[in-house]
Amino acid sequence: MKGVRVFITGMGMVSPLGNGVSETMKSLVSRKKGIRPLSLFPVLHGAPLPVGEVPDRTGGDVAASEESGIILPRSHRLALAAANEALEGSPSPPDAIIIGSTTGGMLRTEELLKEKNSDPRSYSYHATGSIGEYLAQKTGCSGPVITVSTACSSGTAVLKLALDLIRSGRARSVLAGGVDSLCKLTYHGFNSLQLIDPEGARPFDKDRRGMSVAEAAGMLLLQGGETVPVSAVAELLGAGLSCDAHHPAAPHPEGDGAFRAMMAALNDAGLSAQDIDYISLHGTGTRENDSSEAKAVACLYLDGPPLLSSIKGATGHSLAAAGAIEAIVSCLCIRDGFVPGNIGFANHDPELSLVPTVQSRNTTVKSVLSNSFGFGGNNAVAVLSSASGEGNPSRSDVAPVFSVKGLSCFTGAGGIEKTLSALASGASVAGILPLDEISEKLPQRSVRRLKRLPRLALSLAVAARESAACETGPDCISFGTAWGALSETYDFLMKLYETDEEFTSPTDFVGSVHNAPAGQVAIWFKSTGPNMTVTGGDYSFEQALVTAGMTCRDNESLLAIGADEYHQALSGLFDRSVCMTGVMSDGGGALFLQRDNAGSGLRLRVPFYSGGTEENMERMVSALGGSGRINSDFALVFAGMPAACGRRAKEQLENFISASGFTGPVLDYRSFLGEYATVSASATVLACNFVKTGTVPGIKGGPEHDLRGKGILLLSLGKFISAVEILG
């Protein structure tokens, strides 16, 4: 089968250097700095620190509210401005949207929490996942939306997923990018880690003292094809991911993970290090990052590197947007034959083996390596190249098969054994397990700094591997969470507010990033392969399973984890299903999987995930092999119907049944597992267990079901729809 090439055919960005791609580039060429003292929100103690703020006019009208009357957070407005620019002239909406974000609507949420606003509607755009959903609504995209939240590597990690969606034929065009607006969490958080340079970021300089936190949005329109489209600016040749598995917030001191991510990206692109003309460095300006990155580059280039620089001395570090805006700058370097100078660099650091390109220069640039690294040891690297080359036509699997080797879950009843026995006695298992019980098998010292979500994730991971009876692995991790670490986030903000914004907790800040739990799991198992955290509301675990198939290679092992915590103050404000039903529950599930297309025994596959339209329901039935195959392979459907999508989900289920002619029983698992976003992870784990034993016990007084050797089909319904096949 012929492979496809992936081209960048549209670009949009708003950054501290300007509104739009050309304004930003003009500033970069003329060596303008976009870093100045914070003015977006008042600072109550000391002088405002230098940050990268997007010029005011770019964010749109601050007071503008949606049709719904809800104020749209700044990040959503920045993202839309960049998306509109990227899609300008595009005849149709993108087939899929993949967005990286670390803080979502946090700036607005901070204001709401401070004024003690208790109307859940006001928080409708809090979630990181709400940005991609908003863009889908605005652009008319009815396909899959995926939200990556791997801290500062997010904006490059999205490119890896977009490549796979296109190479597998699931999408012809993808809008991929990253966004973060400044907010108190990151401004005070990085300051509490003493990672801010009071003079503004000076990447790779001898006297550098840290980064400058910034905001931006960068969006790329990627299009697949066998021939070069007229609008192609460059080609995305490949991308690579890795994890340091070393420390929650600091990079590996020798740049080990960074080196492996660069190697993985070059391999994926089919290039060698010598083919690269320019490296767009992550170069944040912190002592640790720049030292670690310099060592990684030195390992890759024993005879000296090509031209290389970081633009963060000019733009600041826009977190999840950074990788995306740097990918765009890389494309323009290729198009215009230009390499930007490393702004902020004055003196060579004798401890670094690397001296960046200081003066901008005009020179032919054919291929670029673009680096992004982040908290949790997450590393992502992309290779961009001139579209006039031979390219890198590739194919990937649509829905790879995973063998299920190990399982674990937490419900209100406890771990998997207690959950199964409670269910067998006809009880509901929805509820909240005491914190000590969640982590009872973990050494106290290892979890002393971990609050509820990381304890859930780590305990699930440890139990799943134990049940797999594997000595090694997992190679890769894929974690889904809708809301991230609510306890850490809430405690951080409350301490800040209680002390009139004078003090806060650096530990809570490090723990507050959505990918912190997956980072803990990686450190625990020394898992140095791709480590993804995705945060798509009620479909977060489904996204984790979909991305597992994109990042894990044949025969590699992977832990797929889904978890969310119930938080007394926040869950009822953020999660509409919790708010509507008043059900207090949390937990999650983990599966130790091995990618194995020839798999036998218990196995899992995700043939479909997309927007919740009627047409997509028809596509889903056909992706499952149609009515005949559905009825012959599956004895029972587990349906995920979030209370907040009640009527829509019921209609979708009816449509599924009428389109598939499915005659078996359907169990609504939220009715006995509870209402929380990643409840589908527990449901998947239980479904695997039932398929293994061949029966589903009589749940809450219902009849027992004999599966007659068939599998269980998990359907997620509502805003998005997905199908997960569990076969024995």
């Binding site: 003493q194 106290q444 010292r445 002393r448 003090f503 806060t504 650096p506 530990t507």
Partner: protein
């Protein structure tokens, strides 16, 4: 000095939630960071916040921090020298 050492022991254990450490485990002249107590760089930053809040002593750069956190006694001396709230 002794009184401050004792007070710091309590506050360190409490701030860092050192579940398996007792006050007598913290020797005033042993390494405070990177040793058996399990205190690491993130904990040090947490202690920087606690010390500023409780004693009004700001420990700014990480180079100063390394010396100040060398041992419990070094930390107590630095606080005594710099705290507007404590008599020298």
């Amino acid at each position: 000095m002794e009184e401050l050492l004792q007070e710091l022991r309590t506050r360190i254990i409490e701030t860092l939630d050192l579940v398996d450490v007792t006050e007598s485990d913290i020797d005033p002249d042993h390494h405070l960071v990177g040793g058996d107590l399990g205190i690491d760089s993130i904990d040090v930053l947490e202690l920087v916040v606690m010390i500023e809040k409780e004693y009004g002593v700001h420990i700014e750069s990480r180079e100063i921090g390394e010396k100040v956190f060398a041992s419990l006694r070094a930390l107590a001396s630095y606080i005594l020298e710099n705290s507007p709230r404590l008599k020298k």
